[in-house]
């Protein structure tokens, strides 16, 4: 389909690259797939069979209009309808912090997918810490751009918190990527240096 391609958001780009590394024809479920940018890239470049879940009807409509298979629904509830290991990869990009129960969401990800990718804004980034410490107010930063009363984020999480959760869930962290100002940074001191993190997990 003819479509002008905009570059993928930084976290989606590393996920797309990682999935492409496993070869063509993979089954991918993108949870909270937005306008379908990752799905379109995976189907076009990597020959994946991508499916999506998105709660916003307007975004679902855009996905369907571009020929993608996307189901409007609430991942907190609807993931239960998918069979075990139906997908090679389950992707949850910048959505974990909006889940009702991120721990249960992680279980579901690893149930429906052989592997999972999870990306989220890191609440322990030094700028966030500084805003809270010196400002005394809930931080509004480039990574967390919305005021506390209107944010969709209901469970703020840090990189170290997520590592703990993965350990508790007996999930193996296979790979990880960290970003500051949309650029990849080294894992050294990631918990205070990274604005965003991407983890590849399996169980």
């Amino acid at each position: 389909m003819a479509e002008s391609r905009t570059p993928l958001r930084f976290d989606l780009a590393v996920i797309a690259d990682a999935i492409a590394g496993y070869g063509p024809g993979r089954m991918v479920l993108d949870i909270g797939c937005g306008d379908g940018a990752l799905m379109a890239a995976l189907q076009g470049d990597s020959g994946c069979d991508a499916r999506g879940i998105e709660i916003d009807a307007a975004l679902v409509e855009r996905c369907v209009a571009r020929g993608l298979s996307v189901v409007q629904g609430d991942a907190n509830i609807d993931l239960a309808e998918y069979p075990d290991k139906a997908f090679d990869f389950a992707v949850l990009s910048q959505t974990l912090q909006t889940a009702t129960r991120p721990d249960l969401m992680l279980d579901e990800l690893l149930r429906v997918g052989e592997r999972a990718f999870v990306s989220f804004p890191n609440f322990a980034h030094w700028r966030t810490r500084a805003a809270l410490m010196f400002g005394g107010r809930m931080p509004v930063t480039s990574a967390l751009p919305v005021s506390w009363y209107e944010t969709q984020n209901i469970h703020h999480v840090t990189i170290d918190d997520f590592r703990d959760l993965a350990r508790e869930k007996r999930a193996v962290i296979e790979r990880s990527w960290f970003f500051a100002r949309e650029r990849a940074i080294s894992p050294v001191g990631a918990n205070w240096r990274a604005e965003f993190a991407v983890f590849q997990l399996s169980r």
Binding site: M1, D49, R51, A57, A58, V60, E61, C63, V64, A65, R66, G67, L68, S69, V70, V71, Q72, G73, D78, E81, Y82, P83, A86
Partner: protein, 367 residues
Amino acid sequence: MNVTPPTRSHALAEDLPLDSGQTLVGARIAYETYGELAEDRSNAVLICHALTGDQYVASTHPATGKPGWWERMVGPGKPIDTDRFHVICANVIGSCMGSTGPASDGPDGKPYGMRFPVITIRDMVRGLVALLDGLGIERLHGVVGGSMGGMQALSLAANWPERAGRVLVIASTARHSAQNIAFHEVGRQAIMADPGWAAGDYYSSDARPDNGLAVARMAAHITYLSEEGLTRKFGRRLQDREATSFSFDADFQVESYLRYQGSGFTQRFDANSYLYITRAMDYFDLAEEHGGKLANAFARSRHARFCIVSFDTDWLYPTTESRHIVHALNATGNRVSFVELSAPNGHDSFLLPHEQLDRVVHGFLNG
């Protein structure tokens, strides 16, 4: 009802076996087509009509002179683009716009009336598949249907999974609920209580069950609308008067509107067809046909893509019914899209202008 000869009609090559165990002998299917069929016959889109619809999806209705029922959706450059697709729309068996139904002559040369066999949605689709065979169309690019048309699209996908590459189901359901059956029963009882019905044998008489059929239509019409839509359109406004008349005239605009809908309907629809088609819908339960589990119905449909659309104000086939279909398709690993669109007009929304619906339909058929 005026009997209008259909523009095109296909005599089925073989007798049509029915779910009831009976056989329909010498059946005809009336249909219309729009757009050119590609040389490799790969661009056919079948549109399935709703309960009181017909094959005139995008052309003037011969009995009423009104535009086609989905004129805004089907045509050159429209969401179902006839510059690209060869669109086929057929009148279902049991109906009255040229396909064999209770008003047609039986083998003895007299109208079937209530001797017409009870049919099912799957029987309707059998007729449609037989038509496709007759037209030499092995595999459809897509099948599209709203309401009862959506039931046919689902039935085709489940029972003839190799026949369609895309399946688009709008404002529909995989089974008729008790509430749906209840409303239909009101309509059927209104028809059968009309002395003009004469046990279905009214074709040679001057009396017709028009009053009963009009009441059936009025009751059904309410289920196609939403409270919000009705309130916005009519409220409690009075019709052509300043005060209530303390009588049973149509004081309110909404009464007048329903009476108009009811009487207009009798001009174009056969009462017995209404009985048979509502019965077919009531019997529809795709899960029951497949061992009680809806997912089983789609186990062989994996090479098709599905798109399910519901409207948030549709209380006849609410979003929960669509989700039920989506979950079954997900459980079997089928490729499915689903969106609940916002619209004020209830079930009827699929027939009314809706930009998002247009984009979804276009995107799904072309993507």
